[in-house]
């Protein structure tokens, strides 16, 4: 029943194309589809969590030729997070939106989920493009100058990125004649070294644009600043998380070499520092949060790169960081609708989110930082530890300023909006208390 992951992609895609027919009920239909998706993702996750991985081939062609979905507990978790937050986010903003928005929203969700659960590198590219195109349109949907500028920046960089991804895929295919990730991983050693590195560089650059790593993230501040709150929230948990997960798979499964680990580690650290420093001086809340997102993505990348060294703690760290960042940033972006907080709910949403981001227990962010430190210590990365500490303090400084500034009269908002915000932030607490992520990290993962 819950072992057909393809439905996670198919349902939102099909619904998205049905919506233009029933314009008036677009939001409702979309809401139903996302709710179904969320339910299905939860079911599938619990199924995989207890029964192990699922492989699904599409249309009867077996890998390496056919399209192939491979889902372990980790990708199921990512799919779960994406769909869950997508649902909550849609609860907050869905009703006010028109059918076009709902359609694009569904496409973005389908694409992000697809990136996570696919086992085929070209499929991944296609899903990237679906996500990206939907995101461009969603950002531009606000139709003011800033939104258009953000969308254009994203589009230009996204298009370059897609070209690079495609080149990377082409290079791999030229050597190995396969597109299946696990097939590639098995035969990566037989590749010509130069082409291997070139293809890795191309893929990293291409996906890195989506994953907001420095210096490929020029679009990020503009896009987040330009987009409406709901869209910014969506961007913070769906495409970026899917992309960072794609990079992680690339690093851990396809190119598990020391050189790639080092590159990812240092890029992660640089991204972290630059993002946090750039956020430090921001006056615009959304732009500050965008830079902060960049920093967090750097941190997650550091965690994943350490995980590629086979450190169990690092994998846990990355999971906790992803969850913490998704929960906190999405709620903070929703909160950024007004300069001030929305009453009690808004106040505590903001506080919980910020505390999770700066790593206070028992919130998810704390475990992220804790395990990250343990694994960095295992590798004796003194400088990395110090730099992360430094970035953490800078982050604390601007979030403290943010918290102080948002004290004041309540902003106007509906109960639904507030509840959604609070629900998102509450996942930082829930995942911080439950041993779920801890256990996932010790399951057999990544394998083909």
């Amino acid at each position: 029943m819950v072992n057909h992951p393809v439905l996670l992609i198919a349902i939102p895609l099909l619904t998205a194309f049905i919506i233009p027919i029933f314009k008036k009920y677009g939001a409702a239909i979309a809401g139903g589809a996302i709710a179904f998706n969320m339910g299905y993702a939860i079911g599938m996750f619990s199924h995989i969590y207890s029964n192990g991985k699922i492989y699904e081939t599409i249309a009867g062609f077996n890998p390496p030729v056919g399209i192939f979905l491979a889902i372990d507990a980790l990708s199921a978790l990512l799919a779960l997070i994406i769909n869950l937050f997508a649902f909550i986010n849609f609860v907050a903003i869905g009703k006010e939106s028109n059918y076009k928005f709902s359609m694009l929203y569904l496409l973005a969700i389908a694409g992000s989920t697809g990136i996570v659960i696919t086992g085929d590198i070209f499929n991944m590219f296609v899903f990237f493009e679906i996500t990206a195109v939907a995101s461009y349109a969603l950002i531009a949907g606000k139709k003011d100058k800033k939104a258009l500028e953000g969308a254009i920046k994203y589009m230009v960089l996204g298009s370059i990125a897609s070209s690079f991804i495609l080149i990377g895929i082409a290079l791999i295919y030229s050597q190995l004649k396969t597109l299946n990730i696990y097939d590639i991983a098995a035969r990566i050693a037989s590749m010509n070294a130069n082409i291997k590195w070139a293809s890795f560089a191309m893929l990293l650059t291409g996906i890195g644009v989506e994953a907001e790593i420095f210096p490929l993230n020029g679009w990020v501040p503009a896009a987040y600043q330009g987009a409406s709150e709901g869209v910014a929230s969506l961007l913070s948990f769906a495409p970026s998380k899917a992309a960072i997960y794609a990079i992680a798979r690339l690093m851990l499964v396809v190119f598990p070499f020391h050189a790639t680990y080092e590159i990812a580690l240092w890029i992660g650290v640089v991204t972290l520092i630059i993002g946090e420093l750039a956020a430090f001086m921001q006056e615009d809340v959304k732009r500050m949060l965008a830079y902060s997102s960049i920093g967090q993505m750097g941190l997650i990348l550091v965690a994943f790169s350490l995980a590629s060294q086979g450190l169990k703690y690092a994998l846990m760290a990355s999971l906790f960081l992803i969850v913490s960042h998704a929960a906190s940033k999405s709620s903070l972006f929703l909160l950024s609708k007004s300069e001030k907080m929305y009453g009690m709910a808004g106040k505590y949403t903001g506080i919980v989110s910020v505390l999770s981001l700066i790593g206070m227990p028992p919130l998810a962010g704390f475990w992220g930082k804790w395990y990250l430190m343990l694994s960095a210590m295992d590798e004796k990365l003194w400088y990395v530890i110090i730099l992360i500490f430094f970035a953490g303090i800078v982050e604390t400084a601007y979030f403290a300023r943010y918290l102080h500034r948002s004290i004041g009269k309540d902003g106007e908002s509906s109960l639904r909006y507030k509840a959604a915000m609070a629900a998102m932030a509450s996942f930082a607490i829930i995942f911080g208390l439950l041993p779920l992520l801890y256990k996932i990290a010790s399951l057999p993962l990544w394998g083909g």
Binding site: A198, A278, F280, L355, W367, H404
Partner: protein, 607 residues
């Protein structure tokens, strides 16, 4: 039973969050008594059988996949005895203190939970976890103040402290491959030194040792006094608890004494303690805001504990723990008094206050007693504590530290009198002020009691800390109920007290021999002239220590805060430089992408 206490605190926190403030105060008061019950029950472990409920002395908590080990130790028992009683008292005090609840009691209960957790934790993860919990629950209480400097400085310094502690912890974890405190046997070499130094730095933030004190004046002077009473009285002691734990219980002091040099690095701690005692006292003397004065006085008094730990002999540590205990109580009293004053008059500036002693005699009496303890007048327990530290410094021949802290002790008289004169004595400026509500007075006098007991019986205090010292492998110093004896001298509290009582007799005879009548000072001083005419010149408390200020102030500026601001501005500059990367031109971003690609390819292929 122990797990019930933890669960009960969480539930109570949730309930008090939603109910009205009076009811919340009552619930919080009774709920915060339960941990004390556990403490009394555990007292039988250390030879003070009081009650026997059979509360288990250790437990495990399963959280997010890890196991937290909790157990009571002699050290944590002693510190709990000093910190936990503050909570019910503060709840009692706050019964009529707040206009709106707004989560105060819930957060205080969470702080209590975190404090309890810190004290009970037997592995470094739970120590850190509860420590951070403490940080955020107290941060949220600071957040109520809505003051920019308080919020920012507290959060930033808390996180800095947390990172320093975390750094130390992970190094120790890596060296010993275990998080359990009982497994930490190997603190040696460079990693051990770095770990201990880093831990001390982290704890020093909460222990408010200069120059890491910069947050304290802001926070202490802007938050609710009933919370600050805990912050100054209780939270700062947790910093010293952490120091004691890693320095003496786990023998981290050995690596400090033997690493690379002949001079013990531990001495540095004493020096910083002495400097904070000295400078904070001088700054406190010059303050006009009552809460700021108390804040700096706190920093100064806490400095003595740091000196005690820095000297590191059993004598010094005994004195430091004694001082910590006293400080917890008298500083709580003083901040609560400040709260009462603000509650009744709405003012904090000493120059705007005056003459409250006759209006609120009970408040004044409690404050007077606390001030005597603070100034270490020999009829209070404050003296015994400082005396032990002085003795230790002389014993070790610390000729730099000893005069500095002695003169800081004299400085304490100056600001003590500033509080007494400016707030309670001098010209009467408030005609319509009543004595504080009964619950507040009760809270004050509950806090006075332990100070009273240890006035007469300083030996009891040494008995209380004996298990903690023995657990750290230290001999308790020779003492009886009344007297403490060191290799240098002896202090007999009962001799002082009895002699004072006897010496009171002639004084009392003189007092009673002739009658007197009470006259308002206006009648005397103004000789019938209208009061309004003289009003501007009446109050001497305005800019009280002006001559001293003129001499001293140039040497106190620019102060530590200035340097932290410089660091902040430095980061601002860095931030400004970094964000120029995001030029806003999409073409530039495209160039970055290409350069990045080339860089990666270059790295991979040619390097």
């Amino acid at each position: 039973m122990l797990d019930i206490i933890f669960a009960e605190l969480i539930v109570a926190a949730i309930i008090t969050f939603f109910v009205r403030e009076k009811l919340a105060a009552i619930i919080a008061f009774f709920m915060s008594l339960l941990p004390l019950l556990a403490l009394l029950d555990w007292a039988s472990n250390y030879g003070f059988a009081i009650i026997n409920l059979g509360i288990e002395s250790h437990m495990k908590i399963y959280l997010a996949g890890v196991t937290l080990h909790l157990a009571i130790t002699p050290l944590s028992w002693f510190f709990a005895l000093m910190i936990l009683p503050l909570f019910p008292v503060i709840m009692l005090f706050s019964y009529s203190f707040f206009k709106e609840n707004d989560g105060f009691f819930a957060l205080m209960l969470l702080s209590l939970l975190a404090t309890f957790g810190i004290l009970l934790s037997r592995d470094m993860l739970s120590l850190f976890l509860f420590w951070e919990m403490m940080s955020w629950s107290s941060f949220l209480l600071v957040y109520r103040s809505k003051d920019r400097n308080a919020i920012m400085s507290y959060l930033i310094f808390s996180v800095f402290a947390a990172f320093a502690i975390l750094f130390g912890i992970i190094i120790l974890w890596h060296e010993n491959s275990s998080l359990l405190l009982s497994d930490i046997l190997n603190i040696s070499g460079k990693p051990g030194f770095i770990a201990i130094a880093s831990l001390i730095t982290g704890f020093a933030v909460k222990a408010v040792i200069m120059p890491l004190h910069a947050w304290a004046p802001f926070v202490y002077s802007k938050c609710d006094e009933s919370f600050v009473a805990f912050l100054a009285g209780g939270l700062s002691k947790l910093g010293y608890y952490g120091m004691f734990l890693f320095l003496f219980s786990l023998k981290g002091v050995d690596i400090l004494q033997s690493y690379m040099t002949n001079v013990s690095w531990n001495y540095l701690l004493a020096v910083f303690g002495a400097l904070s005692a000295f400078f904070a006292t001088l700054i406190a003397i010059l303050q006009d805001d009552l809460r700021k004065l108390l804040a700096y006085s706190s920093i100064g008094q806490l400095g003595y504990i740091a000196i005690g730990f820095g000297i590191g002999t059993p004598l010094a540590i005994t004195g430091a723990l004694f001082q910590a205990f006293n400080h917890a109580f008298f500083k709580a009293i003083l901040f609560l008094t400040a709260g009462i004053v603000a509650y009744r008059t709405g003012k904090w500036k000493i120059s705007e206050l005056g003459g409250l002693a006759y209006k609120m005699p009970f408040t004044f009496m409690a404050a007077l007693f606390a001030i005597f303890a603070l100034a270490a007048i020999p009829i209070t327990s404050g003296f015994a504590a400082k005396w032990l530290i002085y003795e230790a410094a002389i014993q070790q021949k610390y000729v730099f530290i000893a005069p500095i802290m002695l003169i800081a002790g004299v400085g304490a008289f100056l600001y003590s009198f500033r509080i007494l004169y400016g707030v309670f004595l001098g010209e009467n400026r408030h005609d319509n002020v009543e004595e504080a509500p009964k619950s507040m007075i009760a809270a004050l006098f509950i806090l006075v009691m332990p100070l009273m007991i240890f006035v007469v019986f300083p030996g009891y205090m040494l008995d209380l800390m004996k298990p903690a010292l023995q657990a750290a492998g230290m001999e308790s110093i020779a003492h009886t109920k009344f007297a403490i004896e060191t290799s240098l001298a002896k202090y007999n509290s009962i001799a002082v007290l009895i002699t004072l009582m006897v010496a009171m007799i002639p004084a009392f005879i003189i007092y009673k021999a002739r009658k007197h009548r009470v006259t308002s000072f206006e009648d005397n001083y103004l000789a019938g002239e209208p009061y309004e005419l003289h009003k501007p010149s009446m109050h001497a408390a305005n800019n009280f220590y002006k001559p001293l200020k003129k001499v001293v102030l140039p040497y106190l500026e620019p102060g530590a805060t200035h340097y932290f601001e410089k660091i902040y501005n430095g980061i601002k500059c860095a931030s400004n430089a970094v964000r120029r990367v995001y030029t806003g031109y999409v073409q530039d971003y495209a160039i970055y992408v290409v350069l990045f690609l080339l860089f990666i390819v270059g790295w991979l292929i040619w390097i």
